[in-house]
Protein backbone atom coordinates (compact mmCIF):
# COMPACT_ATOMS: atom_id res chain seq x y z
CA UNK A 1 0.00 0.00 0.00
CA UNK A 2 2.91 2.35 0.67
CA UNK A 3 4.52 1.27 -2.54
CA UNK A 4 6.62 4.09 -3.86
CA UNK A 5 9.40 4.14 -6.42
CA UNK A 6 12.07 6.69 -7.30
CA UNK A 7 12.36 8.19 -10.75
CA UNK A 8 13.62 11.18 -12.68
CA UNK A 9 11.35 14.05 -13.75
CA UNK A 10 11.73 14.27 -17.53
CA UNK A 11 8.80 16.55 -18.35
CA UNK A 12 7.03 19.16 -16.27
CA UNK A 13 3.96 21.19 -17.17
CA UNK A 14 2.49 23.07 -14.22
CA UNK A 15 1.84 20.39 -11.63
CA UNK A 16 1.81 17.53 -14.14
CA UNK A 17 5.00 15.65 -14.71
CA UNK A 18 6.31 12.64 -16.55
CA UNK A 19 8.66 10.62 -14.37
CA UNK A 20 11.09 8.07 -15.78
CA UNK A 21 11.31 4.97 -13.59
CA UNK A 22 14.05 2.79 -15.06
CA UNK A 23 12.80 3.45 -18.59
CA UNK A 24 9.08 3.42 -17.74
CA UNK A 25 7.39 6.78 -18.14
CA UNK A 26 4.75 7.46 -15.51
CA UNK A 27 2.36 10.38 -15.23
CA UNK A 28 2.57 12.13 -11.88
CA UNK A 29 1.09 15.11 -10.08
CA UNK A 30 3.65 17.29 -8.32
CA UNK A 31 1.53 19.51 -6.07
CA UNK A 32 3.08 17.95 -2.99
CA UNK A 33 6.57 18.97 -4.12
CA UNK A 34 5.90 22.37 -5.71
CA UNK A 35 9.61 23.25 -5.87
CA UNK A 36 10.40 20.30 -8.18
CA UNK A 37 12.28 20.90 -11.43
CA UNK A 38 13.00 18.83 -14.52
CA UNK A 39 15.93 16.44 -13.85
CA UNK A 40 15.07 16.18 -10.15
CA UNK A 41 14.63 12.69 -8.73
CA UNK A 42 11.32 12.16 -6.95
CA UNK A 43 9.63 9.46 -4.91
CA UNK A 44 6.42 8.43 -6.66
CA UNK A 45 3.36 6.98 -4.91
CA UNK A 46 0.02 6.22 -6.62
CA UNK A 47 0.58 8.87 -9.28
CA UNK A 48 1.91 11.58 -6.93
CA UNK A 49 5.44 12.75 -6.26
CA UNK A 50 5.73 12.82 -2.46
CA UNK A 51 9.39 13.76 -1.98
CA UNK A 52 12.36 15.07 -3.90
CA UNK A 53 15.33 12.80 -3.43
CA UNK A 54 18.94 13.18 -4.25
CA UNK A 55 20.77 11.65 -7.19
CA UNK A 56 23.55 10.82 -4.76
CA UNK A 57 21.23 8.73 -2.65
CA UNK A 58 23.37 5.63 -2.77
CA UNK A 59 26.39 7.54 -1.46
CA UNK A 60 24.35 8.90 1.40
CA UNK A 61 23.03 5.41 2.07
CA UNK A 62 26.59 4.18 2.36
CA UNK A 63 27.49 6.97 4.78
CA UNK A 64 24.53 6.08 6.98
CA UNK A 65 25.58 2.44 6.91
CA UNK A 66 29.09 3.34 8.04
CA UNK A 67 27.71 5.47 10.91
CA UNK A 68 25.46 2.68 12.09
CA UNK A 69 28.25 0.14 11.89
CA UNK A 70 30.66 2.37 13.83
CA UNK A 71 28.16 3.16 16.55
CA UNK A 72 27.12 -0.48 16.97
CA UNK A 73 30.78 -1.55 17.30
CA UNK A 74 31.39 1.15 19.91
CA UNK A 75 28.48 -0.02 21.99
CA UNK A 76 29.58 -3.64 21.71
CA UNK A 77 33.01 -2.74 22.98
CA UNK A 78 31.64 -1.02 26.10
Amino acid sequence: MCLAVAGKVVELDGCHAVVDVQGNRVNAVTILVPEVKVSDYVLLHAGFAIAITSRQEHDEQHRIFKEIEKHARQILQD
Binding site: L3, V21, Q22, G23, N24, R25, N27
Partner: protein, 318 residues
Amino acid sequence: MQELIRQEIIPRLGGKSLIELADSARLDLPHTTLAFTTDSFVVWPLFFPGGDIGRLAVCGTVNDLAARGAKPLALSLALIVEEGLPMNTLRRILKSVSDAACQAQVEVVTGDTKVVERGSANQLFITTSGVGIMPSNLDFTPGRIEPGDVLIINGAIGDHGIAVMSVREGISFASSVKSDVAPLAQMVQKVIKGCGPAVKCMKDPTRGGLAANLNEMAQNVGFVLEEEKIPIRPEVQGACDLLGLDALTVANEGKMLFLVCPDSASKTLDILRDHPLGAEAAVIGRADDKKRLVRLKTALGGERIIDTPYGRELPRIC
Protein backbone atom coordinates in the same frame (compact mmCIF):
# COMPACT_ATOMS: atom_id res chain seq x y z
CA MET B 1 -6.85 -23.75 -12.07
CA GLN B 2 -4.60 -26.60 -10.96
CA GLU B 3 -7.37 -27.85 -8.67
CA LEU B 4 -9.89 -27.74 -11.52
CA ILE B 5 -7.58 -29.78 -13.70
CA ARG B 6 -6.68 -32.32 -11.04
CA GLN B 7 -10.12 -32.71 -9.49
CA GLU B 8 -12.45 -32.47 -12.47
CA ILE B 9 -10.62 -33.05 -15.73
CA ILE B 10 -7.99 -35.71 -15.02
CA PRO B 11 -10.34 -38.10 -13.22
CA ARG B 12 -12.73 -38.01 -16.16
CA LEU B 13 -10.32 -38.02 -19.08
CA GLY B 14 -6.92 -38.90 -17.75
CA GLY B 15 -4.89 -41.46 -19.61
CA LYS B 16 -1.18 -42.09 -19.24
CA SER B 17 -0.27 -39.01 -21.29
CA LEU B 18 -2.77 -36.54 -19.87
CA ILE B 19 -1.82 -37.36 -16.30
CA GLU B 20 1.73 -36.14 -16.99
CA LEU B 21 0.33 -32.61 -17.44
CA ALA B 22 3.35 -31.91 -19.62
CA ASP B 23 3.57 -29.06 -22.15
CA SER B 24 3.28 -31.68 -24.94
CA ALA B 25 2.12 -35.28 -24.98
CA ARG B 26 4.41 -38.00 -26.30
CA LEU B 27 2.93 -40.40 -28.85
CA ASP B 28 5.04 -43.44 -29.64
CA LEU B 29 4.16 -44.73 -33.13
CA PRO B 30 5.74 -47.72 -34.90
CA HIS B 31 8.60 -45.83 -36.55
CA THR B 32 8.42 -42.42 -35.05
CA THR B 33 7.72 -40.53 -31.86
CA LEU B 34 5.52 -37.48 -31.94
CA ALA B 35 4.93 -34.65 -29.54
CA PHE B 36 1.36 -33.31 -29.61
CA THR B 37 0.12 -30.18 -27.89
CA THR B 38 -2.84 -27.80 -27.76
CA ASP B 39 -3.23 -24.28 -26.44
CA SER B 40 -5.69 -21.39 -26.31
CA PHE B 41 -4.87 -17.72 -26.56
CA VAL B 42 -7.08 -15.11 -24.95
CA VAL B 43 -4.57 -12.32 -24.42
CA TRP B 44 -5.95 -8.82 -23.96
CA PRO B 45 -5.26 -6.44 -25.58
CA LEU B 46 -4.69 -8.20 -28.92
CA PHE B 47 -1.70 -6.02 -29.77
CA PHE B 48 1.11 -5.26 -27.35
CA PRO B 49 4.68 -3.98 -27.69
CA GLY B 50 6.72 -6.71 -29.38
CA GLY B 51 3.85 -8.80 -30.69
CA ASP B 52 0.21 -9.71 -30.93
CA ILE B 53 -2.12 -12.64 -30.38
CA GLY B 54 -1.18 -14.15 -33.72
CA ARG B 55 2.54 -14.28 -33.03
CA LEU B 56 1.82 -15.47 -29.51
CA ALA B 57 -0.32 -18.34 -30.81
CA VAL B 58 2.40 -19.69 -33.10
CA CYS B 59 5.30 -19.20 -30.68
CA GLY B 60 3.42 -20.50 -27.65
CA THR B 61 2.52 -23.71 -29.43
CA VAL B 62 5.95 -24.19 -30.99
CA ASN B 63 7.58 -23.64 -27.60
CA ASP B 64 5.40 -26.27 -25.95
CA LEU B 65 6.61 -28.73 -28.59
CA ALA B 66 10.18 -27.54 -28.14
CA ALA B 67 9.95 -28.11 -24.39
CA ARG B 68 9.43 -31.82 -25.11
CA GLY B 69 12.44 -31.81 -27.40
CA ALA B 70 10.37 -31.93 -30.57
CA LYS B 71 11.06 -30.40 -33.94
CA PRO B 72 7.76 -28.69 -34.82
CA LEU B 73 6.10 -30.16 -37.88
CA ALA B 74 2.67 -28.61 -38.25
CA LEU B 75 0.13 -26.41 -36.51
CA SER B 76 -3.64 -26.08 -36.63
CA LEU B 77 -5.25 -22.70 -36.07
CA ALA B 78 -8.85 -22.22 -34.93
CA LEU B 79 -10.20 -18.69 -34.74
CA ILE B 80 -13.22 -17.53 -32.76
CA VAL B 81 -13.94 -14.08 -34.12
CA GLU B 82 -16.30 -11.61 -32.47
CA GLU B 83 -18.73 -10.07 -34.92
CA GLY B 84 -17.55 -6.60 -35.82
CA LEU B 85 -13.81 -7.25 -35.53
CA PRO B 86 -12.31 -4.85 -38.10
CA MET B 87 -10.99 -6.68 -41.16
CA ASN B 88 -7.70 -4.80 -40.93
CA THR B 89 -7.17 -6.10 -37.42
CA LEU B 90 -7.71 -9.66 -38.58
CA ARG B 91 -5.36 -9.13 -41.54
CA ARG B 92 -2.62 -7.79 -39.25
CA ILE B 93 -2.95 -10.78 -36.95
CA LEU B 94 -2.94 -13.29 -39.80
CA LYS B 95 0.22 -11.69 -41.17
CA SER B 96 1.80 -12.08 -37.72
CA VAL B 97 0.81 -15.75 -37.74
CA SER B 98 2.37 -16.18 -41.14
CA ASP B 99 5.59 -14.37 -40.22
CA ALA B 100 5.96 -16.27 -36.95
CA ALA B 101 5.34 -19.62 -38.66
CA CYS B 102 7.98 -18.77 -41.22
CA GLN B 103 10.47 -17.83 -38.52
CA ALA B 104 9.66 -21.03 -36.62
CA GLN B 105 9.95 -23.11 -39.80
CA VAL B 106 6.54 -24.63 -39.23
CA GLU B 107 3.41 -24.75 -41.37
CA VAL B 108 -0.20 -24.01 -40.45
CA VAL B 109 -1.80 -26.97 -42.17
CA THR B 110 -5.39 -26.82 -41.04
CA GLY B 111 -7.77 -24.53 -39.28
CA ASP B 112 -11.26 -23.46 -38.47
CA THR B 113 -13.06 -20.14 -38.17
CA LYS B 114 -16.22 -19.31 -36.26
CA VAL B 115 -17.89 -15.93 -35.91
CA VAL B 116 -19.83 -15.29 -32.70
CA GLU B 117 -22.17 -12.47 -31.73
CA ARG B 118 -20.88 -9.24 -30.29
CA GLY B 119 -20.10 -9.67 -26.62
CA SER B 120 -19.42 -13.41 -26.83
CA ALA B 121 -15.69 -13.18 -27.32
CA ASN B 122 -13.33 -10.34 -26.58
CA GLN B 123 -12.62 -9.54 -30.25
CA LEU B 124 -10.64 -12.73 -30.95
CA PHE B 125 -9.72 -16.03 -29.32
CA ILE B 126 -7.28 -18.45 -30.95
CA THR B 127 -6.88 -22.17 -30.27
CA THR B 128 -4.00 -24.11 -31.73
CA SER B 129 -2.71 -27.62 -31.88
CA GLY B 130 0.81 -28.56 -32.75
CA VAL B 131 2.61 -31.72 -33.75
CA GLY B 132 6.36 -32.31 -33.79
CA ILE B 133 8.89 -35.10 -34.16
CA MET B 134 10.72 -36.20 -31.04
CA PRO B 135 13.93 -38.15 -30.75
CA SER B 136 12.58 -41.62 -29.82
CA ASN B 137 15.50 -42.44 -27.56
CA LEU B 138 15.19 -39.32 -25.40
CA ASP B 139 12.54 -37.71 -23.27
CA PHE B 140 12.45 -34.54 -21.25
CA THR B 141 10.27 -34.78 -18.17
CA PRO B 142 10.34 -33.61 -14.54
CA GLY B 143 10.73 -37.28 -13.53
CA ARG B 144 14.26 -37.28 -14.97
CA ILE B 145 15.50 -34.38 -12.84
CA GLU B 146 17.95 -35.30 -10.10
CA PRO B 147 19.36 -33.30 -7.16
CA GLY B 148 22.40 -31.40 -8.37
CA ASP B 149 21.08 -30.78 -11.89
CA VAL B 150 21.74 -27.24 -12.99
CA LEU B 151 18.92 -24.81 -13.84
CA ILE B 152 19.56 -22.55 -16.81
CA ILE B 153 17.42 -19.92 -18.53
CA ASN B 154 18.11 -18.42 -21.96
CA GLY B 155 17.61 -14.77 -20.97
CA ALA B 156 15.93 -12.05 -18.91
CA ILE B 157 12.58 -12.60 -17.22
CA GLY B 158 9.30 -10.71 -17.13
CA ASP B 159 9.36 -8.93 -20.50
CA HIS B 160 6.09 -10.33 -21.87
CA GLY B 161 3.96 -9.76 -18.78
CA ILE B 162 5.12 -6.20 -18.33
CA ALA B 163 4.71 -5.39 -22.04
CA VAL B 164 1.07 -6.52 -21.91
CA MET B 165 0.39 -4.74 -18.61
CA SER B 166 1.78 -1.51 -20.00
CA VAL B 167 -0.96 -1.27 -22.62
CA ARG B 168 -3.85 -2.25 -20.41
CA GLU B 169 -6.31 0.46 -19.47
CA GLY B 170 -6.14 1.81 -15.97
CA ILE B 171 -2.39 1.56 -15.82
CA SER B 172 -0.97 4.89 -16.74
CA PHE B 173 2.61 4.22 -17.65
CA ALA B 174 4.40 4.01 -20.96
CA SER B 175 7.05 1.37 -21.02
CA SER B 176 9.95 0.68 -23.33
CA VAL B 177 9.59 -3.02 -22.55
CA LYS B 178 8.71 -5.28 -25.47
CA SER B 179 7.34 -8.78 -25.22
CA ASP B 180 10.00 -11.44 -25.65
CA VAL B 181 7.60 -13.63 -27.67
CA ALA B 182 9.73 -15.79 -29.94
CA PRO B 183 9.87 -19.36 -31.34
CA LEU B 184 12.54 -21.31 -29.47
CA ALA B 185 12.52 -24.69 -31.21
CA GLN B 186 15.69 -24.17 -33.26
CA MET B 187 17.60 -22.92 -30.22
CA VAL B 188 16.40 -25.90 -28.18
CA GLN B 189 17.28 -28.36 -30.97
CA LYS B 190 20.87 -27.08 -30.89
CA VAL B 191 21.06 -27.74 -27.16
CA ILE B 192 19.66 -31.26 -27.55
CA LYS B 193 22.02 -31.99 -30.42
CA GLY B 194 24.97 -30.76 -28.38
CA CYS B 195 24.11 -32.27 -24.99
CA GLY B 196 21.69 -35.13 -25.67
CA PRO B 197 20.54 -37.04 -22.59
CA ALA B 198 22.39 -34.62 -20.30
CA VAL B 199 19.34 -32.39 -20.79
CA LYS B 200 16.78 -33.76 -18.34
CA CYS B 201 13.78 -31.48 -18.59
CA MET B 202 12.70 -28.24 -20.22
CA LYS B 203 9.82 -25.85 -19.64
CA ASP B 204 8.75 -22.52 -21.05
CA PRO B 205 7.73 -20.34 -18.06
CA THR B 206 4.65 -18.62 -19.49
CA ARG B 207 1.65 -17.79 -17.29
CA GLY B 208 2.74 -17.52 -13.66
CA GLY B 209 6.37 -17.04 -14.62
CA LEU B 210 9.26 -18.89 -13.00
CA ALA B 211 7.31 -19.26 -9.74
CA ALA B 212 4.38 -21.21 -11.16
CA ASN B 213 6.40 -23.30 -13.59
CA LEU B 214 9.19 -24.32 -11.22
CA ASN B 215 6.60 -25.35 -8.66
CA GLU B 216 4.96 -27.51 -11.34
CA MET B 217 8.29 -29.18 -12.12
CA ALA B 218 9.20 -29.69 -8.45
CA GLN B 219 7.74 -33.17 -8.05
CA ASN B 220 10.56 -35.55 -7.10
CA VAL B 221 13.01 -32.75 -6.43
CA GLY B 222 13.09 -29.19 -5.14
CA PHE B 223 14.82 -26.15 -6.59
CA VAL B 224 17.01 -23.46 -5.10
CA LEU B 225 17.50 -20.26 -7.08
CA GLU B 226 19.97 -17.44 -6.60
CA GLU B 227 18.30 -14.06 -6.85
CA GLU B 228 21.41 -12.24 -8.00
CA LYS B 229 21.90 -14.61 -10.91
CA ILE B 230 18.43 -14.24 -12.39
CA PRO B 231 18.69 -11.89 -15.38
CA ILE B 232 16.12 -9.10 -15.47
CA ARG B 233 16.08 -5.83 -17.39
CA PRO B 234 16.10 -2.65 -15.25
CA GLU B 235 12.92 -1.46 -17.02
CA VAL B 236 11.14 -4.69 -16.14
CA GLN B 237 12.30 -4.47 -12.51
CA GLY B 238 11.20 -0.83 -12.44
CA ALA B 239 7.75 -1.72 -13.76
CA CYS B 240 7.45 -4.54 -11.23
CA ASP B 241 8.40 -2.11 -8.44
CA LEU B 242 5.80 0.37 -9.70
CA LEU B 243 3.04 -2.19 -9.83
CA GLY B 244 4.06 -4.14 -6.74
CA LEU B 245 4.66 -7.32 -8.76
CA ASP B 246 7.12 -10.10 -8.03
CA ALA B 247 9.10 -10.53 -11.26
CA LEU B 248 9.29 -14.26 -10.60
CA THR B 249 5.54 -14.50 -11.20
CA VAL B 250 5.46 -12.50 -14.43
CA ALA B 251 4.83 -14.32 -17.72
CA ASN B 252 7.51 -14.97 -20.35
CA GLU B 253 6.92 -16.00 -23.97
CA GLY B 254 10.43 -16.34 -25.35
CA LYS B 255 12.14 -18.15 -22.50
CA MET B 256 12.99 -21.77 -21.82
CA LEU B 257 14.15 -23.33 -18.57
CA PHE B 258 16.66 -26.18 -18.90
CA LEU B 259 17.59 -28.74 -16.26
CA VAL B 260 20.93 -30.26 -17.25
CA CYS B 261 23.58 -32.51 -15.73
CA PRO B 262 26.20 -30.41 -13.92
CA ASP B 263 28.91 -31.63 -16.34
CA SER B 264 26.99 -30.23 -19.31
CA ALA B 265 26.05 -26.87 -17.83
CA SER B 266 28.97 -25.05 -19.36
CA LYS B 267 28.38 -26.52 -22.82
CA THR B 268 24.65 -25.71 -22.62
CA LEU B 269 25.46 -22.10 -21.81
CA ASP B 270 27.89 -21.87 -24.72
CA ILE B 271 25.36 -23.26 -27.17
CA LEU B 272 22.64 -20.92 -25.93
CA ARG B 273 24.83 -17.83 -25.90
CA ASP B 274 25.79 -18.55 -29.46
CA HIS B 275 22.14 -18.23 -30.50
CA PRO B 276 20.39 -14.82 -30.85
CA LEU B 277 17.59 -15.91 -28.51
CA GLY B 278 20.02 -17.16 -25.87
CA ALA B 279 22.63 -14.41 -25.75
CA GLU B 280 21.85 -13.62 -22.10
CA ALA B 281 21.64 -17.23 -20.95
CA ALA B 282 22.56 -17.80 -17.33
CA VAL B 283 22.71 -20.44 -14.64
CA ILE B 284 20.10 -19.39 -12.10
CA GLY B 285 20.01 -22.29 -9.66
CA ARG B 286 19.90 -26.02 -9.28
CA ALA B 287 17.74 -28.94 -8.24
CA ASP B 288 18.07 -30.36 -4.75
CA ASP B 289 16.50 -33.06 -2.65
CA LYS B 290 13.99 -30.91 -0.73
CA LYS B 291 11.04 -32.27 -2.69
CA ARG B 292 8.32 -29.90 -3.90
CA LEU B 293 10.04 -26.90 -2.35
CA VAL B 294 11.22 -24.00 -4.51
CA ARG B 295 13.51 -21.66 -2.55
CA LEU B 296 15.26 -18.41 -3.27
CA LYS B 297 18.63 -17.39 -1.88
CA THR B 298 18.03 -13.67 -1.73
CA ALA B 299 20.34 -10.81 -2.63
CA LEU B 300 20.26 -9.86 1.03
CA GLY B 301 21.87 -13.19 1.93
CA GLY B 302 18.74 -14.76 3.37
CA GLU B 303 16.33 -17.36 2.07
CA ARG B 304 12.65 -17.59 1.34
CA ILE B 305 10.14 -19.80 -0.43
CA ILE B 306 8.96 -19.12 -3.99
CA ASP B 307 5.35 -20.26 -3.95
CA THR B 308 2.88 -20.75 -6.79
CA PRO B 309 1.19 -17.42 -7.43
CA TYR B 310 -2.48 -17.29 -6.45
CA GLY B 311 -5.37 -15.38 -7.81
CA ARG B 312 -5.57 -13.42 -10.99
CA GLU B 313 -2.45 -11.32 -10.56
CA LEU B 314 -2.12 -10.89 -14.27
CA PRO B 315 -5.29 -12.05 -15.97
CA ARG B 316 -5.52 -12.50 -19.75
CA ILE B 317 -1.78 -12.44 -20.12
CA CYS B 318 -1.41 -15.17 -22.75
